[in-house]
């Protein structure tokens, strides 16, 4: 399964990247599964992906909850609470 992953604002800075193409080989059925896999990359990733009550996510540009299913080709975005307006 191939995913396009985007990171915004403070998350982009904490993780040192704004996007990546990820080919997932282990079973990743939901957003939660993806977050667990990314969290295993190291301390900065764990801080963002597993110990972060303020983490927000979107799948294909729609806000998504942790149990939302993922499909091949999805665009997944991670970001902090919004502060526009």
């Amino acid at each position: 399964m191939k995913l396009q992953i985007l990171y915004f604002a403070s998350l982009r800075e904490q993780l040192g990247r704004d996007r990546e193409s990820l080919v997932v080989e282990d079973p990743v059925n939901t957003l939660q599964d993806l977050m667990a896999q990314l969290a295993s990359r190291g301390d900065a990733w764990r801080a963002v992906m597993s110990d972060n009550p303020n983490l927000l996510a979107a799948i294909n540009q729609e806000t998504a909850q942790a149990d939302a299913p993922l499909n091949d080709g999805d665009e997944v975005a991670f970001f902090p609470p919004v502060t526009g307006g």
């Binding site: 403070s10 979107a58 806000t63 975005a77 970001f79 902090p80 919004v82 502060t83 526009g84 307006g85």
Partner: protein
């Protein structure tokens, strides 16, 4: 409905000329303009940088406006949100709503602003004398959005 995310500033007279253009039954236009303040959380702000999620931003604003159109009797709406580097006194956001009656116009305009603040993917970073920092989401904005 007109939705724009742009670096450029806007001219309000021009926006209002295009709002519900050609309609002769508009009785009320409510407009909100958000601006960059020179101070936030006690520190002087020199520059504000606005980042967004291209694509999702426009979609989420259109969704907010569609929701407003379902709840109130609106004739047209315009939302313009600026991104990039802004200085104190610069305009950030404009919401303009046209209706037959002022109650609908006021409420829809305030509703759209409250939801913009809590649902549209924009993020502000402030440059102050002490360096730069991401603006934190406010509880008061969450509460304002929960009213509706």
């Amino acid at each position: 409905m007109a939705v724009s995310v742009q670096q450029a500033d806007f001219h309000i007279d021009q926006v209002l000329d295009e709002l519900a253009a050609g309609r002769r039954d508009v009785g009320a236009v409510a407009v909100f303009i958000g601006k960059v303040r020179d101070i936030n959380s006690g520190d002087d702000v020199s520059t504000l940088t606005l980042e967004h999620y291209p694509g999702m931003t426009e979609k989420s604003i259109e969704k907010i406006v569609t929701e407003a159109e379902q709840r109130w009797a609106l004739m047209d709406s315009t939302v313009i949100h600026r991104v990039g580097e802004l200085q104190p006194t610069d305009n950030i956001v404009l919401v303009a709503v046209a209706s037959a009656h002022r109650g609908d116009a006021f409420q829809a305009c305030e509703f759209i602003m409250d939801y913009l603040k809590t649902r549209a993917p924009f993020w502000k970073k402030e440059q102050t004398a002490d360096g730069e920092r991401w603006v934190e989401a406010r509880n008061s904005d969450k509460k304002a959005a929960q009213r509706w």
